[in-house]
């Protein structure tokens, strides 16, 4: 198939940036979206132009690097997938595709489609861990049974890949889905209880500092999240916050 691509080009963080049109031809429906981008970049390099910078690494939906806003949707039109798992069979010959970076005040553009997600790092550093030494002197792994249900639910929350699609999708650029997924993972496990109050307080405080917006319960994030992280996590985090407030 032949396609027209409208792509955000921005030389650096300080550059203003603009949309630029490109054409690609003979794209196979079996290609992944990023393989289509490879074809375009190869064309650009061969013409001596600068290829389009975009983040990617694993190309199988797990590392959370890839982050394109395609036709007005984070990770594009398919559901439950990252940009790298999107396939060209979702498009048809003659389509025009708009490709932009994930946009949010807390995710400044570095170049073209690459954004800076360090805000997520700092939120995790504020409390996204259990304070246990890695010395190996911990108790036996089976000493504390954990119900299968709790373990499974914790695992579901833990499968967030930190891509930021939830933020890019939210009209307020809220990071609640991301933060609540991490808070939930620990809140659901006995190991996470000791520091639960401090954790949620500190992570939420850091989230606010980073300039993410408020959650107004629109639920768009849940729909666009490639890993199916559920809004229940946000409700759980709010409960944890309330508990923490009572303790204080």
């Amino acid at each position: 198939m032949d396609l027209t691509l409208k792509i955000w080009r921005q030389k650096s963080a300080t550059d203003k940036g603009k949309m630029v049109d490109y054409k690609v031809t003979d794209i196979s429906e079996h290609m992944s979206f990023l393989e289509m981008m490879d074809v375009l970049n190869e064309q650009l390099v061969n013409k001596g132009e600068e290829p389009i910078a975009f983040d990617h690494d694993c190309r199988e939906g797990i590392c959370g690097m890839c982050s394109m806003y395609i036709n007005g949707e984070a990770h594009g039109p398919d559901r439950g997938v990252t940009t790298c798992q999107l396939h060209m069979r979702m498009f048809k010959d003659g389509d025009t595709i708009t490709i932009e970076p994930f946009r949010a005040a807390a995710f400044p553009v570095i170049k073209d489609l690459v954004v800076d997600r360090m805000a997520f790092e700092r939120i995790q550093q504020a409390g996204g861990y259990i304070s246990v030494n890695t010395s190996g002197n911990t108790q036996d792994a089976n000493a504390t049974p954990i119900s299968k249900h709790a373990a499974d639910e914790s695992m579901d929350a833990a499968s967030c890949i930190g891509c930021g699609a939830c933020v890019a999708t939210c009209k307020n650029s809220s990071a609640m889905l991301f933060v609540s997924a991490k808070v939930s993972q620990y809140a659901l496990l006995p190991q996470g209880q000791v520091e639960a109050a401090d954790r949620v307080r500190n992570m939420v405080a850091q989230m606010d500092l980073e300039g993410f917006g408020n959650c107004t319960n629109t639920g768009a994030c849940e729909i666009e999240c490639p890993k199916g992280i559920s809004l229940d996590n946000i409700a759980r985090m709010n409960r944890e916050l309330m508990k923490a407030a009572v303790l204080k």
């Binding site: 196979s28 590392c63 997520f120 373990a151 190991q191």
Partner: protein, 670 residues
């Protein structure tokens, strides 16, 4: 230089404990004055950085992604081994040790492997304490599954995302130390050289991938944890950015490179679909717990399938060849990876492949779905369940176990694997070879360590499934923190290492010269063009089956591609900005040297062992006819190569392997 593996004396069960009892320690007040650089923050580097920081050292950690959480370890699916014997099926430290040495086809160092097995249990304890949500049974205890090449269930898992969860565990431990200022994290930084002063590793040169600035970083010791070099094949299951640059650069500065030809071609990957393909996707080995591998038994059926005139579900049971179950009745579908891959290739080469290119075999879940469905019907007291009901119940179980893998398959191939068998084919996956290290995980350069997939240490000529995660975390959490202390105990009086020395000047100049060469080259071909050509030579001539003629050709061809690359590569953009093409150029330049050494090593090793299969070395008769033939009399050694300029001129050093606790014998999975 003679190789000294520094294996402690004494019985194998006591070596590690005795060793720990006798090493030098650094007192906490002194640790504050010692800096350690850790390059790479996957399972190995991440766990090492966190632990070293927790002990009190000042750690500087580097990764090329924008977060430690995105290291390639994140992609590991199936699980992590540990000799916990929670299943009560006869597992023990010795058995894990034995399975690993045997699985590696007797080309690994006994003492290292024993230590790995010994600390394996603590890894699980540690991860659970960190909040890693491993799968559990209804009683709330940890669940296990089986992987290839073993007869027990010792693999712990978190759905099909075990690597992700373990890495997030190590990442959380890092975050705690970053918050305290004990780890300084350099994301989006690439190490481009190591700096040696007075024979010791004292720092690195790194490029800031956002600004393009070249930076100098000094330390009292440097740890390389940059993963494997599977991308030398262009197509592999590795992440796009996985590279050999750090390992190759330290090799050029004196670290020997061991067994480069020991590479794992994983049997169950999604077959390639076209020339545009940028990477291959693994379907976890755990699927072989329940999936049965087959091709049509009759050549006419195979032809009809290839032409899409016949569907796999239309082939009756008696006309299917479950070739692994046929050839290896004891282990069946769970033979080790090298054995399974070769068997699939053998069938496809004989014309029985099941896709248009003839390079695919089936991985079929129909029997498992039926089996689980019947059990569920019993549990739920459903009398005379219909076929559909059984299917529905069984599918739910399979979905719970492998749902994300099935979804991944369906998204890529556009076929529903619950209804029709998956198509799979072997692909490059893991590199057992790597930087040579001694028992302390130190390279042949003082103060320079190498851990995780980047080193050669524990897996011999073939790695068993779920053992890489185990090794990465063992190295980082439990082994390196001791062994490096023994070295750093002598550094307490050294003081801060300055970076304004001639050694740093020189290393930095080499790095900038190379970058300038690329940018000013004005060639005509893209970096990928050369990478793809290299990959094709590697796959065709240094792939699953190798012979003398092909290997010699490969060496010559790679050298030629390399020369052309330097002459004719085109890299757009400039040095002081984010420039992904420039990053790729540097990595491919190194692959083009490593590839040749790889072929040279394969040529030297005139035996078949593990993932290294020489067509000249097969069993000619008896029960093992057609199987790979090892040559212990002449090749029971680690090949450690010393850099001498051109890869073809590398000098071989042998570390003779001694087997005192395990009898050397033919590996049989029959």
């Amino acid at each position: 230089m003679a190789l000294d593996s520094k294996i402690p004396h004494g019985p194998i069960q006591n070596k590690w404990t005795d060793y720990k009892n006798h090493i030098n320690l650094v007192n906490p007040a002194n640790k504050r004055h010692i800096d350690v650089i850790v390059v790479g923050t996957g399972l190995a580097g991440g766990s090492a950085a966190a632990t070293l920081a927790e002990l009190g050292y000042n750690v500087k950690a580097f990764a090329y992604q924008d977060s430690p959480r995105r290291a390639h370890s994140i992609a590991a699916q199936g699980g992590i081994n540990a000799a916990k014997n929670y299943m009560g099926d006869g597992d023990s430290t010795y058995r894990l040790f034995y399975d690993t040495v045997k699985g590696g086809d007797y080309r690994s160092r006994e003492a290292n492997v024993y230590r790995l097995a010994e600390v394996s249990g603590a890894i699980i304890d540690q991860c659970v304490a960190q909040g890693v949500p491993f799968a559990r049974d209804y009683g709330g205890l940890l669940d296990n599954r089986s992987f290839g090449g073993v007869l027990v269930s010792r693999t712990f898992y978190a759905k099909g995302q075990t690597g992700q969860q373990l890495l997030l565990g190590a990442y959380s431990a890092m975050n705690r130390q970053i918050a305290r200022g004990k780890i300084e994290m350099f994301n989006r930084h690439e190490m481009l050289d190591v700096v040696k002063i007075g024979g010791k590793a004292r720092g690195i040169i790194a490029r800031n991938l956002i600004t393009g600035e070249i930076e100098r970083h000094s330390a009292h010791a440097v740890v390389i944890a940059t993963g494997g070099y599977g991308n030398v094949y262009f197509l592999s299951t590795n992440a796009m950015g996985s590279n050999a640059t750090a390992a190759w650069k330290i090799h050029k500065k004196g670290a020997y490179f061991a067994n480069p030809c020991f590479t794992q071609i994983h049997p169950t990957c999604i077959p390639r679909s076209g020339d545009y393909q940028s990477k291959l996707t693994l379907m976890s080995e755990s699927l072989r717990n329940d999936g049965r591998i087959w091709v049509p038994a009759r050549i006419e059926d195979a032809k009809a399938i290839q032409q899409r005139k016949l569907k796999p579900t239309e082939i009756p049971e008696e006309n299917r060849d479950y070739f692994l179950e046929r050839r290896y009745p004891a282990f069946g579908n769970l033979v080790p990876r090298d054995v399974a891959s070769r068997a699939a290739k053998e069938r496809c080469d004989a014309g029985f492949g099941v896709n248009a290119t003839g390079e695919a075999v089936y991985l079929d879940f129909a029997s498992a779905i039926e089996r689980y469905g019947k059990i569920q019907a019993k549990i739920h007291n459903i009398e005379n369940p219909s076929k559909e009901k059984i299917y529905e119940l069984g599918q739910a179980i399979v979905e719970e176990k492998y749902g994300n893998l099935f979804q991944m398959y369906e998204k890529i191939v556009d076929e529903n694997p619950y209804k029709t068998p998956m198509m799979i084919y072997p692909a490059t996956h893991y590199t057992m070879g790597g930087i040579w290290v001694d028992y302390n995980l130190m390279t042949t350069v003082d103060g320079l360590y190498c851990i995780g997939e980047a080193n050669f240490s524990d897996h011999g000529a073939n790695r068993l499934g779920a053992s890489a995660l185990m090794q990465g975390l063992a190295d980082g959490y439990f082994i390196l923190p001791y062994t490096i202390g023994d070295y750093l105990a002598n550094e307490i009086r050294t003081g801060k290492i300055p970076t304004n020395t001639p050694e740093f000047d020189e290393a930095e100049k080499e790095v900038t010269d190379r970058i300038n060469h690329f940018l000013n080259n004005k060639g005509t071909k893209s970096v990928d063009h050369f990478h793809k050509r290299l990959g094709k030579v590697m796959w065709d001539k240094v792939g699953m089956a190798r012979n003398e003629k092909g290997l010699k050709e490969a060496m010559a061809e790679i050298k030629q591609i390399r020369e052309e690359f330097w002459r004719d590569v085109k890299v757009p953009g400039s040095a002081y900005e984010m420039n992904p093409e420039l990053e790729k150029a540097g990595r491919v330049a190194d692959f083009l040297e490593l590839g040749e050494l790889f072929a040279k090593d394969a040529l030297m090793r005139e035996e078949s062992c593990g993932g290294h299969f020489r067509e000249e070395s097969v069993e000619m008769d008896g029960e093992q006819k057609g199987e790979a033939k090892r040559n212990d009399a002449e090749y029971a050694f680690v090949a450690a190569w010393e850099y001498k300029g051109e890869p073809a001129d590398a000098v071989l050093h042998k570390e003779q392997l001694e087997f005192k606790d395990i009898e050397l014998k033919q590996r049989s999975y029959k």
